[in-house]
Symmetry: C2
DNA sequence: AGTGAAGACTTCAGAACTAAAGTTTGAAGA
DNA sequence: TCTTCAAACTTTAGTTCTGAAGTCTTCACT
């Protein structure tokens, strides 16, 4: 078998115990929150990734669709703006758009009023893909929070936004570049 | 100026409003929790990334150090086990270890009792790097949670682990491969 | 007009990854 | 013993990213 024991991911409790063993001045309560947050987020991303790949699009493509939809009708943005919004270099954006154009998710054309600029526009198919992904995502999210009462949901949302404000206040912005979309 | 307006990241509230505008059957309370969770996690990762790069190590290297330390003394693992633990292919692990060996963070040697296996072992310098990173991380984490009372911390930890259990129960495991460390 | 400079995007070279094929070692059965 | 198979790791080919150089358009100043 040769499956070395201990390779399977430890439970949250095991992991916190390991942290305490190796690093004495650790507040287990803090570590529990931080580790649970990180782990929960990862699991959710795995779930989203499965859903989008079931729709035949990659996570990278989903992010672009999201940015375009959230920009509002007529669902147009320039490659440079998209790059800033997604936290990518313009070079990476060029290639991503290449792929998405060939798949029919977006169109690319020059802005005739200012021929330096390029306009990336969502196609009807791209918009439909986003809607399908959202339908799947909302089902998953509602299922995830199913055990939480309305009061617990309110409290959780409030605490998380409080933490978020604190982080955002502490860190002006990561090198001027924005990170991935929610 | 040519800085197209609307490129800066929207606030959480603006983003939720955009979601509601584009997708009617959305529970804003659910979306608030999910978006805050995701955004908070991202901001935290940016902070960790700055701290580790200030220590002269990459995030990738930090993950390897973490896995080795948490495995406990004598801080040894095989490349294959490390790859599973970090959610990488064995090929990627080979290259990562190459880099870390040249930087003196780990050593690589054949297992003499079973020459198919390779042993990656943390060096004293690698362990020290991990400890420094942990010292920075705990300061940041304590600062982050500063406004939360002990009761709120307990409640938050409890709710998050409850959600975590729910996700883990729902999804057996992502294709048999483990994701990144917390 | 004519030149210079800045902006927006693309192209190119290099880094880190994945998937799949290749190599070496150990173990099990003919 | 010899053969065959499986396991563990490495190597190779191809993808997607970053950083830097390159191209094309526009604007400002002379």
């Amino acid at each position: 078998m040769a499956e070395t024991p201990g390779v399977t991911e430890p439970t949250l409790e095991e992991q916190i115990a390991a942290y305490q063993r190796e690093f004495q001045d650790l507040d287990p309560q803090v570590e529990k929150i931080v580790s649970a947050l990180s782990r929960l987020n990862r699991r959710m991303n795995v779930a989203y990734g499965r859903q989008t790949s079931a729709l035949g699009i990659s996570n990278a493509e989903w992010e672009v669709l999201k940015a375009l939809v959230l920009s509002g009708a007529p669902y147009r943005m320039g490659p440079g703006d998209l790059a800033k919004r997604l936290g990518l270099t313009p070079a990476a954006m060029t290639h991503r758009i290449d792929r998405m154009v060939t798949e029919g998710l977006v169109t690319r054309e020059r802005d005739e009023s200012n021929r330096v600029r390029v306009i990336v526009e969502l196609t009807a198919e791209g918009r439909e893909k986003w809607l399908e992904a959202m339908r799947l995502a909302t089902v998953f999210e509602e299922d995830l929070l199913q055990d939480l009462s309305p009061e617990e949901r309110t409290a959780l949302g409030e605490v998380l936004t409080r933490l978020l404000r604190r982080v955002e206040h502490a860190q002006p912005d990561a090198g001027g570049r924005l990170a991935d979309l929610d």
